[in-house]
């Protein structure tokens, strides 16, 4: 005698799975619309050539002098190029001091500390969320890590200039 299988009824588990699927779709739509995920960020972006300067503060004199213009700069996180170094400037690290005799304050250079200003030229995508160089975002005030042949460190971006 053939075994007759009873047809399964639509039950609570089925309903639960449908709700989960609908929720996943709803979250996907929310992310797409509100977070810009999936949207073409480049639609609101333009490619520009920029020169940005990273400031590395309070460095020991021993690490100065190894980095030079022409070196490639890299983001250590994604190992991508973040441009070519176009200038390197070393300036004394200055601290504010108060002169009780004349009642004024002065900026005084620390003889053992230096600030390194490294200016880098790169092609960037400019969006309303910043400048992106091979996926690395640059904004004035934001810190970035840099690797190059002659120097590695974490500096703050102090200016960005569009040059083309």
């Amino acid at each position: 005698m053939a075994l007759k299988r009873k047809k399964k009824a639509f039950n609570v588990s089925d309903l639960f799975f449908i709700v989960v699927i609908v929720a996943v779709i709803a979250v996907g739509i929310f992310l797409y619309k509100n977070m810009g995920i999936g949207s073409s960020d480049s639609s609101g972006s333009n490619t520009v050539t920029i020169e940005y300067t990273l400031e590395f503060k309070e460095l020991n004199g021993a690490v100065i002098g190894h980095v030079k213009a022409g070196d490639n700069a890299q983001d250590p996180d994604n190992k991508q190029s973040i441009g070519t170094i176009v200038s390197v400037q070393t300036v004394p690290y200055e601290e504010i001091v108060y002169n009780a005799e004349d009642g004024n304050v002065y900026m005084q250079a620390n003889p053992d500390s230096w600030n390194l200003l490294i200016t880098i030229r790169a092609q960037a995508e400019h969006t309303d969320r910043g400048y992106y160089v091979n996926g690395t975002r640059f904004l004035v005030g934001k810190s970035n890590y840099l690797w190059s042949r002659g120097f590695a460190g974490k500096g703050y971006c102090i200016n960005i200039r569009e040059i083309g």
Partner: protein
């Protein structure tokens, strides 16, 4: 003797758990939207001027504030408005100790460190609970935020929220 029909599954504990989870989801959903309706019912939607201060930054920082830039909160990428203007740009205060041990208020020399204040224009609602940018993102004077635009990334402290008049 086999009657050829499989026995129908009983309603079990798992089913009950699923039902409870579904009821909870519906309850949370209803509460969330009831609350949102309450906020809307007792609020004034409009354009607001959010003023903010920035302390002790490099003197060139103000150059990176560009009028019309969209302003986002860095922690969650929430859009809160557009940058309108820098209202003040003054040397930062420095508190030095004088020979008697007291504090003397001085200011950083020109071209070094500055304090800024500025304004963001925001669309949102104001009600008894405060201001909600975009209808849902709570902002109030005293709140510290890291914001970014297309040009700058910076810590600010909100100092006032008023209805915007051009």
């Amino acid at each position: 003797m086999n009657n050829g029909t499989l026995k129908q599954k009983k309603f079990n504990v798992l089913d009950w758990m699923i039902i409870i989870v579904l009821i909870l989801c519906v309850a949370v959903f209803v509460l969330r939207y009831t609350r949102k309706e309450d906020i809307k019912a007792n609020s004034i939607a409009g354009t607001y001027a959010i003023s903010f201060t920035v302390e002790n930054v490099r003197y060139t920082t103000s150059d990176a504030f560009v009028k019309g830039d969209a302003v986002y909160v860095a922690t969650d990428d929430t859009y809160i408005g557009i940058f309108d203007r820098i209202d003040s740009n003054n040397p930062s205060a420095y508190y030095a100790e004088d020979p008697s041990g007291g504090l003397v208020k001085k200011y950083y020399p020109e071209g070094t460190r500055v304090d800024l204040s500025g304004t963001i224009i925001s669309e949102g609602v104001m009600n008894d609970d405060g201001y909600f940018a975009g209808g849902s993102y709570y902002l109030a004077p005293g709140k510290e935020l890291t914001i970014y635009t297309g040009h700058i990334y910076i810590d600010i402290v909100l100092s006032g929220i008023t209805e915007y008049t051009e």
